[in-house]
Amino acid sequence: MDANKIRRALHRMTTEIIERNRNLKNLVIVGIRTRGIYLGKRISKLIKELENIDIPVGVLDITLYRDDFSELETQHMVQKTEIDFSVKKKDILLVDDVLFTGRTIRAAMDSLFDLGRPQTIQLLVLIDRGHRELPIRADYVGRFLPTSRREMVQVKLKEIDGCDEVQITEPVEMK
């Protein structure tokens, strides 16, 4: 997926969001660290361009809610969750770059519930690569990308990686 396709996908998903959400003023965007943040900000900007409504964007760090703590080889650096608006009764659009096993989203929802009781939670992902291990599905999908389990899917974004693209790589065979 190249920069153009990414742009079009975001555009398309934004119009879907606007279509399905009657009360846009109640919508808030929460991006999951790290790339979910930038995607969320882009979406917010697009909504502003199309509907002239300001949708706030918050940052969620799910490290403390992971379910695989005792399996991790190395610890993950905990970073700040920065959501300076209340989530109570809001319609939350949760944004992440890749949907895979579904565990990150499960952790994100647990974290959001510890912050308050949202009205609804919708999920937007740029890539859905399949291989779900939990009953989680996205409301808005940029692209479905069938992959084998061993492959690695890497989303690169201009804001931190210098370019927009999606890469699929095979893990290197160790002899």
Binding site: D61, L64, Y65, F69, S70, E71, L72, E73, T74, Q75, H76, M77, V78, Q79, K80, T81, E82, D110, S111, F113, D114, L115, G116
Partner: protein, 312 residues
Amino acid sequence: MEFNQKHLLGIQDLDATEIMTVLETAESFLEISIREVKKVPTLRGKTIINLFYEPSTRTRSSFELAAKRLSADIVNFNQQSSSVVKGETLKDTIRNLEAMNPDAIIVRHASSGAPRFIATFCRSHIINAGDGSHEHPTQALLDAFTIKQEKKIFQDLKVVIAGDILHSRVARSNIFCLRKLGAKITLVGPPSLLPLEFKKFGVEIDFNLEKAIEDADVIMMLRIQLERQAKNFFPSLREYTNLYGLDQKKFEKAKKKPIIMHPGPINRGVEISSEIADSVQSVILKQVENGVAVRMAVLYLLLGGKESEASD
């Protein structure tokens, strides 16, 4: 991220990178202490034992809250408890507690070196909550965290630590910590409580508080214990307060309007006047708030993640 320790026995075992990792991690935990649901599931299922041989309300409850906010189970064992009164040795007490499989034991003990002694035969992660006159690492970490909040940078920061330096584990841990981070430290106190040998720790020494605080960015006052007067370390509390107590009059001499810190509990009117303790420069209550976040960070860094070989 760098934190490859099995125990937290003292600041001396940490390098600057590891200290900064604790401080950065603590920032994330500060947020949890403010929001409505002050809990995360991170250490769910872990068992922690608080083993305090010396009385303490604030440090013990700070650790307790830290553990509970991380969803760990924590049990308190204090020195009034029956088995200590019955004369059980420290080693036997630990062996008995170890049989209950705690993931971590937080120890405060009057003997310097006791946590290190425990770590030689106990499988759990050992956290030093204060050993004799030796170290109080989490206090130094939360002090550093508080300084970072207010002053942002440690390099060349001028810190004055005043009081009974000789017997203070808080002083030692802070000296080690702040020096590793690049700060410049001046110690102040009466000569009987501040041997000149302390210069070998890479600090300045001054017996005059007013002079020392002139260019200070941070003033850390230490509690003076009444027992020291009985042993002639100084002739009377009155004389001590006149010379080494921080009050408004002395504070005027501090040109940079430094922040004022104290590990608590404070002796109002002795080492610190009420005015100063309650002044806008005082961050004493912030220290307490930060204490929980820093201790959460320490517990997370020691216990979160796989029990790897990096430990021992």
